[in-house]
Amino acid sequence: MGSVGAKEVPVLLSPEGLRIDGRRLDELRPIKIEAGPLHQADGSAFVEWGANKVMAAVYGPREVHPRHLQQNNKAVIQCKYNMAAFSVDERKRPGLDRRSQEISKVIAEAFESVVFAEEFPRTSIDVYIEVLQANAGTRCAGLVAASVALADAGIPMVDLLPAVAVGKVAGRIALDLKKEEDNFGEADLPMALVPQSGRLVLLQMEGHMTPEELSQSLDLGVRGCRDIYEKMKAALRARYSAPSSGGAA
């Protein structure tokens, strides 16, 4: 988004309306979700989404660290979104930057909106998201992985939380941007949906859109979320039918 002063903009949309990887405007990248790949975590998931590779793990309900965050009437949900140093082209220095902290906050708030936290007072539910290979849309991939990991950990929730970003590419609204589209696109709008209620628990936007474009983006994103929702459920069904596998990160 808005790489001011950067290199030349590539052709993002063919005359036939196809994108640089051949997708239509409303088409998702390939998604593979594996529930339960980790052995130590109470719940885990690995998501390959386009060229993103994201691992999520859930621990809890367990004791709260640091102690003073403990709440008497419910569980606190703590989230750490982190990018591996080698997950991006330019090596990222280890440690939490401001972007990661903001993403951790909005993801935690999204899960707090659906987890039945009152069932576990005085505990913490800790959600860890590790981006191992990044290619645009990592917060949505992380949210999807974490949501499956929460289900894998048996945490009671209103619903799973599918998520996807909609963007604007060459003046057109497009689903699920990949890196080149995100770098040179005109807008980026990640969202997470509660399928049951049709409401959004995560929503951010950066770029420029008319109100009409924004309206269209919301509708396209909701449809995308519903497709991802099916893949999430399938991954959990596969996990339950083969409970003791584990292993393939």
């Binding site: 002063g5 409401r199 959004l200 628990v201 951010q204």
Partner: protein, 262 residues
């Protein structure tokens, strides 16, 4: 009566009122608190403004210094936005490294400034790849009466609008000149209280809220940034309605900020 119980009673009261379209301070659901903006509050800054929304006060200061462009964008200046939620301004802030709340405020304001192309960063460059102006936007919350994002953004944008590039002081040019500001995005924040959505929430309303939604619009009719915050959810139709309303508030706040004497 413990603090937790008091907060719960207050929350229930705010939600009950909201169900009737009422608010604790008597405002209508779509009404801002009194707004004022005072540019030039701090003369040591290259630009500054004190913005107030009711009891909320945020001071923004601009500093421009020569520096190096980032290696991957040799033709763009550098803009750095930072919000300090200092413990002076609220009993809930503690000293120490920036909290997630402060980071969110600075990132949401930063996002609107960038996405609206408020400043043409390429014009800050002195020598491509070598030397550029680095523009620091520092927002200091003085009094936290709720809705920090709107107040901070109003202070920051007004401060930028009145900023001077100190070219003479740093021996980069012969004389100082005004910073060129192309757009003036305005952030407009709503919270959900039950089925009612209200604008410009107070601190207590934020505590009772079931979701917060901020929309930044500029004077050309574009939405340039959005941020959903806090625990809670919005339907797509809620979002569309909030976007629609944000434009009118944006126009009014922008006029107040611009009308302020420099």
């Amino acid at each position: 009566m413990s603090e937790g119980v008091a907060t719960e009673i207050l929350t229930t009261h705010i939600l009950d009122l909201a169900a009737d379209g009422k608010r604790l301070d008597g405002r209508g659901p779509d009404e801002y608190r009194p707004v004022s903006v005072e540019p030039g509050f701090v003369v040591t800054a290259d630009g500054s403004a004190l913005a107030r929304l009711g009891d909320t006060a945020v001071l923004a200061g601009i500093k421009l210094e020569p520096g190096k462009p980032f290696p991957d964008t040799p033709n763009a200046g550098v803009l750095t936005t930072n919000a300090e939620l200092i413990p002076l301004s609220s009993p809930v802030f503690e000293p120490g490294p920036p909290q997630p709340g402060a980071i969110e405020v600075s990132r949401v304001v930063d996002r609107a400034i960038r996405a609206a192309e408020t400043i043409d960063l390429t014009r800050l460059v002195v020598t491509p790849g070598e030397k550029t102006w680095v523009c620091y936007v520092d927002m200091h919350v003085l009094d936290h009466g709720g809705n920090l994002i709107d107040a901070a953004s109003l202070a920051a944008l007004t401060a930028l609008t009145h900023a001077t590039v100190p070219a003479k002081r740093f021996e980069v040019g012969e004389s100082d000149y005004p910073l060129d500001v192309q757009h003036f995005p305005v952030e407009c924040t709503y919270v959900r209280l039950g089925d009612t959505i209200v604008v410009d929430p107070t601190f207590d309303e934020e505590g009772a809220a079931q979701g917060r939604l901020t929309v930044a619009t500029d004077e050309t009719g574009r939405v340039v940034a959005m941020q959903k915050g806090l625990v809670g959810a919005f339907s797509p139709d809620d979002v569309k309605e909030v976007v629609r309303r944000s434009f009118a508030h944006g126009d009014r706040l922008r006029a107040i900020a611009r009308g302020s004497p420099a």
